[in-house]
Amino acid sequence: MTQRLTMENLRKWVPLFVLIGLVLFFTAVNPNFLSLRNFARIAISSSPALMVATGVTFVILMGSIDLSMEGTIAVCAVLFALMLNALGGSLSGAGWLAIPGALLIGAVLGAVNGLIHVKLKIPSFMASLSLGFVGIGLSLLITGGDRILIEDPIFRSLLTVRVGGFPLMAWAALACLLIAWFIQDDTTVGRNFYAVGGGEDLARASGLNTGRLRVTGFIVAGIFYALGAIFAVARLGIAETETGQNFMFVSITSVVVGGTSLSGGSGGVWNTLVGVLIVNVIGNGMVVVGLPDYFQDGVLGLLVIAAVYLSTDRRSLFFVK
């Protein structure tokens, strides 16, 4: 028994060991990797991805999956930029309303997603994939394919102002992660996510309204996608349909690589932080080492397969679809 316990404990820390190993490896190949400037660069590329991955973590904890993030981010980013510019173009004026506005849009899209999944009893991966396509179409319809520029210096300070070497964006993302941690560990809803993911039959039998809980999970995810959209816009100063591109693959990879199991019930937002850092360290490290960036998708693909393989408890599975 003690043997197994230590194995389980060990497995829990594997993602962190992988992260440390990667940092050491890239530093050994190119010492420039281990510098504050480079770490700040990794932090900037990680911030939007961290928000999106944190959002989807809640959904995956319940054993569902959400593939709608590209569409949701595109819609949130575009509408956020339009609202900001329409309300005076600066966060110092009425423009700050654009932030709660964007979060609300994210929540609404998440709710639609969750309701379709729960009420129509459609598997979540398919419901959310369809809605993702709808979202991309919607944002294209709104923008007509144009880019929306944001020049507000206060908003851009998320990227330009640095505290302790890291941009404000990274600190803001960290704050949001702490909120997510609070939701996960210290609220009833958060604990219930684990209950549903661990065994829906049991959760339902003990009186949980699992349908409503699932919808809540998708709403929380939607709000975090909206945060990710805001950071993504802040990073480039541009909002367009392309803003959402690639987030689906990267965020799912991050969650899975961080050690949250796709079957639900184990893992959490700190795993996701480690996962996001692993993915971004690999992305950054490959550039620093001098490998072309298009190998990233392939490497991430292999990483996902390996991580899901290692994290699946095969004793509890009879067959896999």
């Binding site: 709808v134 179409g137 298009y294 998708d297 392939g298 693909g301 393989y309």
Partner: protein, 293 residues
């Protein structure tokens, strides 16, 4: 309905054009059908088709018409990898195919050097010119597509493999208990889906005379819609290749009528996304899913 607003819509040439335009989509959807038929899904088709356009363009000067074989083999290989990852490593098919799609995308970008490539017109006509011609007014492409659908139909209805796929889709535990080597046949379904996606990419790249890692972008949604609207539910077991043929026709007509009615392409994507949800909701077999995750 659209025939009423514009009488030209129903003319034979227009219908023929419509059918020809939809050929690559049809082939991809037919491959996807085999995977959905067993209750799994293949999200890598689009990336495999993208890779196929690049591989076809790159190998054409070297291999001539044999480049078709190279492309098909590559598709078969990527499909088989998806199948092996799903069955042996027990990774759910949507995530396994997503990951394999990522690998295919990397390969496409590596081989193409991240740019759009063009086929040499002379070489293309020499190797694949016959694809573009037509006999008695019927384009060869369309004939080829129907032959391919016929092959898929034959596999599905007249071969042991097809019967086994149906058994797996209807009830996998039962199939396992009857002593069928389920894993092998599942891998076969994924491999065939990969190969069909590659053929779709090949024909698309011949048509456009070039290849790029993003050429087949936008194929995934209509392909899934075609399968589901045709009547093969996400839970598998019923429907099949012929249903997908009809489903693809529906997609083609909807698409063309939207063009006629001047609805922008972005509207199409929203529409197909919603159609997909409706199609799944109405066709899915809920008795197979006690808990919907």
């Amino acid at each position: 309905m659209v025939g009423v607003t514009d009488i030209k819509f129903l003319s034979p040439e227009n219908l023929l054009n419509l059918a020809t335009d939809v050929v690559p989509l049809l082939i991809m959807a037919v491959g996807m059908t085999l995977v959905i038929y067993i209750g799994s899904i293949d999200l890598s088709s689009q990336s495999v088709a993208n890779m196929a356009t690049v591989l076809a363009t790159v190998t054409l000067p070297v291999a001539g018409a044999a480049s078709a074989l190279v492309v098909m083999a590559a598709g078969l290989l990527f499909g088989a990898v998806s199948g092996i990852v799903t069955t042996r490593l027990k990774v759910p098919s949507f995530i396994a195919t997503l990951a394999v799609g990522g690998i295919a995308l990397s390969v496409a970008q590596y081989v193409s050097g991240q740019q759009a490539l063009h086929m040499d017109a002379g070489q293309r006509n020499h190797a694949f010119g016959w694809m573009q011609g037509s006999t008695a007014g019927i384009p060869h492409e369309l004939v080829l597509a129907l032959v391919i659908v016929g092959v898929a139909w034959f596999i599905q209805n007249r071969m042991t493999a097809g019967r086994v796929l149906k058994a797996i889709g209807t009830g996998e535990p039962v199939a396992v208990a009857s002593g069928i080597r389920v894993e092998r046949y599942k891998i076969l379904a994924f491999a065939l889906s990969g190969m069909f996606a590659a053929i779709a990419g090949l024909m698309f790249s011949v048509k456009l005379s070039g290849g790029s890692p993003t050429l087949a972008e936008g194929f995934l949604l209509p392909a899934i819609v075609a399968v589901l609207v045709g009547g093969t539910p996400l839970t598998g077991g019923v429907g099949g290749v012929m249903n997908t043929l009809i489903g693809t026709m529906i997609v083609a007509v909807v698409r063309a009528s939207m063009l006629y009615l001047n609805i922008p392409a972005t509207g199409q994507q929203i529409f197909f996304g919603l159609v997909l949800i409706v199609a799944i909701a109405t066709t899915i077999d809920r008795s197979k899913m006690r808990i919907v995750k």
